[in-house]
């Protein structure tokens, strides 16, 4: 199992790490049992993501994909951010080992969860726009497969 230089860089120097007190979209996905939880904070002004932060409990790939995802949505419109795919995150990181692909899925889901929260706060039902998000589950008993 080998990480690309990009993954190691984003792991070692994660961008946009921390919390955002004035965030208006916050999402958390993953599962501590599985060893990965990502929490994403978005500040959205006029339909544009003006600031973003994340906190992640997880492996190197989990941290790197979170970091990369924040970079990829910052400054983007909400609609653009909704297009963010795990594949795009992976490509931006020059790939991930096969066993780590689920981390990129988690990063995509974290962004969608935060956007979902944003819509909810706006009084808009997020599901038709964002789709169903698998919420974070700190005590779930199911499997860790994503």
């Amino acid at each position: 199992m080998m990480y690309s230089e990009k993954v190691l860089d984003h792991f070692t120097n994660p961008r946009n790490v921390g919390e955002l007190p004035d965030a208006n979209g916050v999402g958390e996905v993953g599962n501590a049992k599985c060893g990965d939880i990502m929490k994403m904070y978005l500040k959205i002004e006029g339909g544009v993501i003006t600031d973003v932060r994340f906190k992640t409990f997880g492996c190197g790939a989990a941290i790197a994909t979170s970091s990369m995802a924040t970079e990829m949505v910052k400054g983007k419109t909400v609609e653009e951010a909704l297009q963010l795919s795990n594949k795009a995150v992976m490509e931006a990181l020059d790939g991930l080992p096969p066993v780590k692909v689920h981390c990129s899925v988690l990063a995509e889901q974290a962004v969608r969860a935060a956007l979902s929260d944003y819509y909810t706060r706006q009084g808009i039902d997020p599901e038709p726009i964002v789709g169903k998000i698998q919420e974070v589950d700190h005590d779930h008993e199911g499997s860790c497969g994503i």
Binding site: M1, A32, G35, F54, K55, G58, C59, G60, H138
Partner: protein
Amino acid sequence: MSKMIYADNAATTQVSQRVLQKMLPWLGQHYGNPSSIYGIGREARAAIEEARSQVAQAIGANPSEIFFTSCGTEADNWAIKGLAHTLGPKGKRHIITSAIEHHAVLHTCKALEKEGFSVTYLPVDRYGLVSPGDVEKAISRETALVSVMFANNEIGTIQPVAEIGAICRKAGVPFHTDAVQAAGHLPIDVEAMNIDLLSLSAHKFHGPKGIGVLYIRKGVPFPTVFMDGGGQERGRRAGTENVAGIVGLGEALTEALEDLPEKTARVTAMRDRLISELTKLPKSHLNGHPTRRLPGSCNISFEGVEGESLLLLLDNHDICASSGSACTSGSLDPSHVLLAIGLPHEIAHGSLRLTLGDLNTPDEVEEIIRTVPQVVERLRAMSPVWEKIKDE
């Protein structure tokens, strides 16, 4: 690389200079096939027999009871599959092992389950100890063998091998122990401990990778041949002998046992300092038994952090360590050993294994003691899990 701190001696160790020097002729001019009749063949045969005597002496066995294999894994496969196949046809289709064995034993048992054998996986207590009483209760008339490891690779816990051996002897059941982590680090006496079969592997005690031993006590039912072919190892294990590896194994085991008490005292002191300092961190716990553990073995869980990221940051500080997080292995479940001693998944994911050896120095230990807390704090600062539990 000069300042690298290697604290993963349970994963593998560096080949010692003395061992390498003894191996080199067998990778050079002395290349004869040990089965050959002429001079360089006979030399190679003699070198193998010398190594066999070294191993025999190290564990209190007879040279004729020592068989070289390609690794610890092969020794485990041969012992367990071999005995199952020897005794299975006689109605003995039950195997007893523990829940915290190495995969070389566990997956071998799984393979035998597919063939119709039944396997009892004995539980362990929160320190990782198997209860000899449980072994006794599990033995039935169908039991072909008991296989309980000498010491655990992840948490370092040393099993009550002699007690288990005595129980098996009384019951007339062959007793195998995977001593891959113990050999070269703990005194082993197959007589006093009633061990019938024992696996070991050179690369865990400053020998080369890719060479191991299965000890098979004379008189116990002989495991069916695992590696069929030529007549090497008195017809029991085929394949042209890895002469350099065998010579290296014999020398490494001999060297490891020289001054063992002194080395053990030194390594244990370093380990204990590591444990006492690192468990001062909030919400950190030692895994394994506090005293009945391998001299160099330290395994600590730090709540709120995940193991692989811990290792990667330590690697950035040139510290080589390991973890019970399954992330490293690609599976998503954490170590079966940590789960078996009762750790919840989320805590098991945050475990750090530091295994010291006689080449480590107190300075290195201090450096680890300075670095680990920084790294843990850094990861906790970005952990949404820590955020929730830190004040609990």
